[in-house]
Amino acid sequence: MIVQLESVTKEFRSSGHRVTALDGVDLQLSEDQSVALVGESGSGKTTLGQLLVGLEQATTGEISVDGSPVRRPTDIAGRVQMVFQDPFASFNPRHTIGQSISKALSIQLRCSAAEAGREAVEALEAVGLYPGADFMARMPNELSGGQRQRASIARAVGGGARLIVADEPTSMLDVSVASQMLRLFRALAGRGVSYLFITHNLAVARYIADRIVVLYRGVIVEDGPVDAVIGHPSHPYTRLLLDSTPDPERGHRARPPVPEETTEMALDDLSDRRRWCVFAARCPHRSPACAAPVALRPRAGGGQVRCVLPEAAGTAGGDDV
């Protein structure tokens, strides 16, 4: 299965302003590779996830799965599913877990309610909720956050979908529950499921994914194999993310201060975006060469990067992290 985004732009109108969440994104995903979509808030990563499952429609550009366009959830419900960030709100409080999951599975598997019920029990047990029949009868508020998130995963995976968009699925969970959830994600990946794993934490990306796509203000700035991107980040923004990510293996680590946007160069307006590299306002290496939109070029170690710096393409030595 190939998921393709071609020149996808998504704009929102919010209280009079036009906000560009995604700007001309080209991306290809397949079911044999897990991709981590990394970025800070406002990067567009959640929007990209929503576009993939049909919750939102692209303003321009096209999203397709195996050639057929994706415009609404029913187009891909059986092939791409989503696990959301908030385990406490993702189940209808008036339905039992069994009702919620069975309904989802019967739609996606196109089977009877009874058959869907059996599949649901299996799916619950596959994510560690044992005995499944027990959990089927419970109401969502009887489950803990971790259990609810597991049930969400069961619902997402049980209908045959092979690509799961996971939008920060562990950020609302307690530490030890989050680590169990991450392990579960990996275990499921071993059984043929692949992810678009949305996170702002590179360490989590490294744990889950084979490939990292770094998003900044709606634009892909770096895309490459996970070890290459983390070991030798090509884009200054990736570098910034790397420096900001807490690492249990590192004690005190000398860190350059986080650069903020300089006020003369606020880049909310689309027109400015056309005149400068998208990261120019915060880039410590900004130069006159950045006064034009930058295209993606190959990076050393595989993948692509959107930067004019010579180091970006690997002509200079990469830093050891």
Partner: protein, 272 residues
């Protein structure tokens, strides 16, 4: 929550339901319960005695019998109008809240416009052109005006629910819009629907009584409102026949109170 607990969540609700049920039973049993026929005339203005626990009125009719027979009209028109209004209002509220857009806005502006019109006055005007209004027509009119209120309340609640994550989840999972409206959102807004239905029903009961008091509606049928109307016109106060006034008035109040108790207890119920 068990099914019973969901419908009757508290003692207050139980009292309300009991009152409503009492009147429904009387309404259904109606004439069978009454000791005498309302067409039988006894001596006028009799005070309460063992034979006539509530006395008799100006026409010699046993007041208790009239009360029991009159329950049917009051209950029937009141409750059915409330249900009709609730049904229409919920459907309109759901649809306009879920689909929003131009249609939703237009619908709501129409509702706003209609809400300005006082229903009692409207019915009085209609009555001026029609010799008599049957119960069924009365139900249609009252119900036809009360759906407006419910549509607004339901729509506003649907707008809130629509933003909740489980609605997005339902879409991602592949459910169609109609199923989301009726199977996902509707179960979550039932407290609001219930609460508003009982408010509307209470208003309908009072409206019917008021219309009967004004002499509008079916002139031949006995209802609490018509009893009050006659009591007033025939000078019950002067004759000291306080039961003629208090009994139907109390019934109106109690029936409404039953709904209010139930409605308030539903508003306070929270479904997690």
């Amino acid at each position: 929550m068990t099914a019973v607990r969901q419908v009757v969540p508290s003692r207050r609700a139980a009292i309300g339901v009991a009152l409503i049920a009492l009147f429904i039973v009387i309404a259904v049993a109606g004439p069978a319960l009454a000791p005498y026929s309302v067409k039988t005339s006894f001596a006028s203005w009799l005070p309460p005695t063992a034979a006539h626990p509530l006395g008799t009125d100006d026409y010699g009719t046993d007041i208790l019998s009239a009360l029991l027979v009159g329950t049917r009209v009051s209950v029937e028109v009141g409750i059915l109008s409330g249900l009709l209004g609730s049904a229409i209002g919920t459907v309109v509220g759901l649809a306009s809240g879920y689909y929003q857009g131009v249609i939703g806005e237009l619908l709501m502006r129409f509702v706003d416009l209609m809400l300005v019109i006082p229903s009692l006055a409207l019915v009085v005007v209609i009555a001026a052109f029609v010799p008599s209004i049957s119960n069924g027509v009365e139900i249609l009119i009252i119900g036809g005006l009360s759906w407006l209120w419910i549509a607004r309340a339901v729509r506003s609640q649907v707008l809130t629910e629509k933003r909740r994550l489980y609605v997005d989840v339902a879409r991602v999972v592949g459910r169609h819009h109609f199923a989301i409206m009726t199977r996902e959102i509707l179960p979550c807004i039932t407290p609001v629907v219930f609460a508003n239905t009982v408010m509307v029903t209470t208003a309908a009961i009072l409206t019917q009584a008021g219309l009967a008091f004004l002499g509008i509606g079916n002139p031949d049928s006995t209802s609490w409102g018509s009893m009050l109307s006659l009591a007033y016109a025939d000078g019950a106060v002067l004759h000291g026949a306080w039961t003629w006034i208090v009994a139907p008035g109390l019934c109106i109040a109690l029936l409404c109170y039953g709904f209010v108790l139930y409605g308030n207890s539903m508003i306070e119920t929270r479904y997690r």
